[in-house]
Symmetry: C2
Subunit: 191 residues, 2 copies
């Protein structure tokens, strides 16, 4: 219960992306819920052998470390901040603290699931990462550009920072989405 | 994708309960995320044979109908509004519309899962309902009373409106929580 009450704080961590209607910034708790729903609905986009139940669990807990570290937007720091060594070390420390609130066996199990997500090497984690990357794209398309406008992102930067991850876990999904992002960027005046 | 974008609106549906720190009202999207985490962490409280993966899926989608109907607090209308025939009919219509945004086979599957949750007759649904009822209790305890103060709820009303549902799906959990709710109400002056 101490863990579950502490987890409540994820609802106060604000992301760079907004709701689809652009009315306010999204928080990491509701973002995690939305991703779990993505996994349920887009399960047919996963590679054979992917365990959607494990993917959903990964997505439920994948952002808990942000309670300590905050959200580091994918396009911030010209696309380099998100995966920096400093951020990764801070997130590892946060994971140790937060999952350490659980009984030891359970804490170790959830920590391992988070580490698997972060490493993005297993088929389950690769699909989970694809969904984590594609949902903000859909939010930005819905809200008229969102963080692409905020951070001055180009279509090519979107492909390299986001598209490669989505395509790795859900190639047909990225084909579908990329047609829409290309249309979005093509319709914008030259920057 | 039309369904997933529509689902985003659940993040704008406000519940009566607040965050654990009392800073603002909780929305139904982040509430659904928190419940999925409850299911992961409290799986050992479920009856034998409960499929936690199905419970998590039920909890992810259980409140989507609130996009059309809004949240009807459990203690509103002196405890009668939540399960009224009018609310149930409105929620059924909302489910038909919202799950109708999905491809027909998938929409039927998710609608059936929502209906199973609402009926609260299968072991999976009974456990999911128990978590849906106990999370606001924990939020209220953390925030100093929350909706119990708002609606003038007594310890006995809490037992009958909430405790019976929690105890049905997770009896040991309710024993643990009830000791804390009793202590909370005992410490309050007579109303």
């Amino acid at each position: 219960m101490a863990f579950l009450i502490e987890a409540d704080r994820l609802k106060t961590v604000l992301r760079a992306s907004t709701l689809a209607d652009g009315s306010r910034r999204e928080n990491s708790g509701e973002h995690s819920w939305h991703l779990a729903l993505y996994a349920m609905v887009l399960a047919d986009q996963a590679a054979p052998g992917v365990d959607i139940g494990r993917v959903i669990r990964m997505l439920i807990l994948h952002d808990l470390v942000e309670i300590d570290v905050g959200d580091v937007p994918i396009h911030s720091g010209d696309g380099t901040a998100h995966a920096s060594a400093a951020v990764q070390a801070a997130e590892a420390a946060a994971a140790a603290r937060i999952f350490g609130l659980l009984p030891p066996d359970q804490g170790a199990e959830l920590l391992a699931l988070w580490q698997e997500f972060e490493a993005a090497e297993t088929p389950d984690a690769i699909f989970a990462k694809a969904l984590d990357r594609v949902q903000p794209v859909m939010q930005n398309l819905a809200s008229g550009g969102g963080t692409w406008v905020t951070y001055g992102v180009t279509s090519e930067q979107l492909d390299s920072r986001v598209g490669t991850r989505v395509a790795r876990g859900a190639p047909a999904l990225w084909d579908w989405v990329r047609a829409r992002t290309r249309a979005f960027f093509d319709d914008r005046p030259e920057r």
